[in-house]
Symmetry: C2
Subunit: 496 residues, 2 copies
């Protein structure tokens, strides 16, 4: 048993996993599903391009309520010399016909005159009782061909590409697909992901808790991620740390799912069985990736050679919550994306100046959680806790700064690129707080949240907050510094 | 009956509607729902702030597999003068105890030494068979207090604010809420929205179609929008254009929903009954808003004074598909947002240069659909079709430029702010095509889509495309220009 994992670079780890997925025929769309076109398909990914079956409009349509005419018949109409056109219903000599918006234009017509621009009159010249069914209409201005007409194909021409395969369906897309004659669509089948929480110290959410017990919530976070990315997650009950029980559970999950997430036990401790179970049922292609947090990841495939019904990819997900959630983003999301035939999620990015010195292990890609705010002209990124057990560092993060392999860290003030979890617009409505935590910051955060604004705060202690204020690098700072000589809080430190 | 609508400015229209909602007690969260904490709550909006019930960790926990010790007992340990600590199980003289990551630290301990940093030995100094259960551990380096320990409250301190009310739940949030001792959450009840398609010319999606008939898809687009924004949409069957049937349908919908969307018939034509039905059952506060497209909007409230069981807001949604979808964005989304207690959706924005002259009615807020791309150093916005019947102008739009009331339009090259429908990062992977449409553009769009890139194209005709190329304002241009004198395509025009 190896105590130390052999961390390999992230790109190599991903390449090995991709090669293994290809070798078992699990690269690309897993299957196609035919669905009726309705609002339930939102977020699904088109497996086939949508080409127009019919044009839209599928006929020349009136664009206004008014009278359909042949434009040539209006030539020469002037305020002083109007043109009268007969429009009696059922008459073959009719040269004008009332149409509502959207109505089919009569074959002999090529324009519509809006009802407010004509005089509807009787044969004797008096105003018609029903302005929509007069004997004649009187026109005092010529019209050009196709005025107030939506010509056939104005929106969509039959046979044209309306939406490409790989497109994620949004509300307006459904309109375009319906408009061009489809009532069914073909989308990628949702990948099925089994999530297996393992650990004798784990207890389910909602159970009375004792010291030494850990509330098992990684499976909920991972399931929510999977569903959000377009998969279908199945959470299994907690399995205790024994080889046999984990083995049995993995075999069972492999029969129905496309991917197994085994969480945790992916490290190399005495009770870490993930690696052993995966090796017993197939192969661990990668055990340890050079990323922080989250390095004890296992990427493997279990398979038919070991008596299973089919080959199934499996990921050993580290147990610390930040590691688990980042393993989802880094390894699981791209796999689901390609199984759905869509692009992997792209994050908005922003350049920012880091507020303090950061050291980083040079061998690893280091995922630094930061808050981001605009103070004056500067966009600032303040690092949050680096502990992989600190889930609030992800909850409170506005984004991630990746310190690549080879980097030993950053000096304060260094420019970094932040991969934002929020819309970059939201930076302008964020109050940036660096300093000591204070209950008033909680109250302010709640107050701002109900007004569409945010408070992003990083806890660097009171003195750090005062220094940030002096540097113009925070909007506000919590501070509780007692001057022992004067008995005063804060004031003497502010003077300093 | 007024033929012309009285368009009022957008802000005034919204203020009138807000005042009416307040007067019937429908401003703010509609109700609170208690839900178990699991992955199904993603996207729901917290109705109550989450304060920590317990700390996380809720005890001092080992952060590594190793031996718990009291750091003071390791003082003076050096490579040349190791310290041995007894660690027999069940012994009261034990000064070291094996712990797995996450285990409770014994009360007498304040640090953990990772297993790879100790020698596990028997009483006689030989290496222990089971390195986790030795008689002694030998330490050759002193440890500081709290090293390799996750102290209680490292992540979350009991009573602190974890998430504010109004927060939209994301996967990692569920972890933090579980970690601090909650197993239920309180979220805003989903607003119920009834969508009533009306129109004798309408046929449902999937019905054989004839000239003059219109495929009814606005209700699907609106329902998808509502669901995406956090409401629950109910689509009613198509109602023919008669006052009685629409009246009956509105009365029925008002009994179970929080908002009615009546589509279409919101204009003032002979078969437009929305206004009449709303006036019969309550009040149309606004009939016509100074926006393009989408001006024939009705905002009203129907109510108890007219014999209904409760007051219900109602929006008459224009029939043209672009108008209908934008009415959703402009009027419906903000109402749903405040009923959920969340902020209204904010869009990323980008500054761009408009590629051609645009005229705009000075009395209206004009919603111009544009494609956006980066060509060289320039970010360019090219206007798409302005027809309110052209749903593909929304499908293909990368964003919206709002030309405010008072603006008569834009000159080519003017700087505009685009409200993006996409992530601004995607601009850099977008091929920008201005010119004539061509089947090869369809093929290229499909090719790029499967590779995580996009083609955004605006149809301005062949000559427009060639001019854009000369100006450096497009990546590619479709062109089919026949030179009648030479019989050649394109070449002579390119020379010009």
């Amino acid at each position: 048993m190896s105590i130390y994992l052999d961390d390999i670079p992230l790109t190599e780890a991903k390449e090995r996993f991709e090669a293994a997925l290809k070798s078992i025929g699990m690269w690309g769309i897993l299957g196609v599903e035919e669905l009726p076109l309705d609002e339930k398909v939102i977020g699904r990914v088109l497996a086939e391009a949508v080409f127009a079956k019919i044009s839209s409009p599928h006929y020349h349509a009136a664009a206004m309520d008014g009278f359909a005419v042949l434009s040539a018949n209006t030539t020469g109409a002037m305020p002083s010399s109007p043109v009268d056109l007969p429009c009696e219903r059922e008459s073959s000599s009719s040269r004008a016909a009332y149409v509502d918006t959207g109505d089919l234009l009569p074959e002999w017509a090529d324009a519509v005159i809006p009802i407010e621009n004509v005089e509807s009159i009787n044969l004797n010249g008096s105003i018609a009782e029903n302005i929509r069914q007069p004997a004649l209409i009187r026109i005092r201005s010529a019209v050009t061909p196709w005025s107030h007409v939506r010509p056939m194909g104005e929106d969509i021409v039959a046979t044209q590409l309306v939406l490409p395969a790989g497109h994620i369906l949004r509300p307006v897309d459904l309109g375009a697909i319906a408009a061009c004659g489809h009532h069914k669509i073909f989308v990628a089948r949702k990948p099925r992901v089994a999530i297996l929480p393992t650990g004798s110290e784990l207890i389910p959410i909602g159970t009375p808790i004792h010291p030494g017990e850990i509330i098992e919530y990684n499976s909920v976070v991972l399931a929510a991620q999977i569903n959000q990315w377009g998969g279908v997650a199945t959470r299994y009950p907690i399995t205790p740390d024994t080889f046999e029980e984990i083995y049995r559970c993995v075999v069972q999950a492999s029969e129905t799912c496309d991917l197994i997430l085994l969480n945790a036990g992916s490290s190399a401790g005495s009770e870490d069985y993930s690696g052993k179970v995966i090796e017993a049922l197939g192969e661990a292609l990668v055990h340890g990736v050079a990323i922080r947090p989250g390095h004890p990841v296992i990427l493997g495939v279990i398979g038919v050679n070991e008596g299973l019904k089919k080959a199934t990819p499996i990921i050993g997900v580290p147990g610390y919550p930040v590691s688990a959630a980042l393993t989802g983003e880094i390894f699981v999301e791209p796999v689901i994306a390609q199984w759905l035939g869509r692009s992997s999620i792209s994050y908005p990015k922003v350049k920012a100046s880091i507020t303090r010195k950061v050291t980083s292990p040079p061998g690893d890609d280091d995922y630094l959680r930061v808050i981001v705010g605009r103070v004056g002209e500067k966009v600032l990124a303040a690092p949050l806790s680096r502990g992989s057990g600190v889930i609030t560092s992800l909850v409170n993060a506005d984004g991630i700064v990746i310190l690549p392999r080879g980097s030993q860290g950053l000096d304060a003030g260094a420019e970094v690129e932040v991969r934002l979890y929020r819309n970059s617009e939201e930076l302008d409505t964020t109050i940036f707080a660096i300093g000591s935590h204070d209950i008033t910051l909680d109250l302010m955060a709640q107050f701002l949240a109900t007004r569409g604004r945010r408070l992003s705060s990083a806890n660097v202690g009171s003195l750090g907050g005062l220094i940030a204020i002096r540097r113009g690098e925070t909007h506000i700072a919590g501070s509780h510094l007692l001057d022992m000589s004067s008995g005063e809080y804060n004031l003497s430190y502010i003077r300093q």
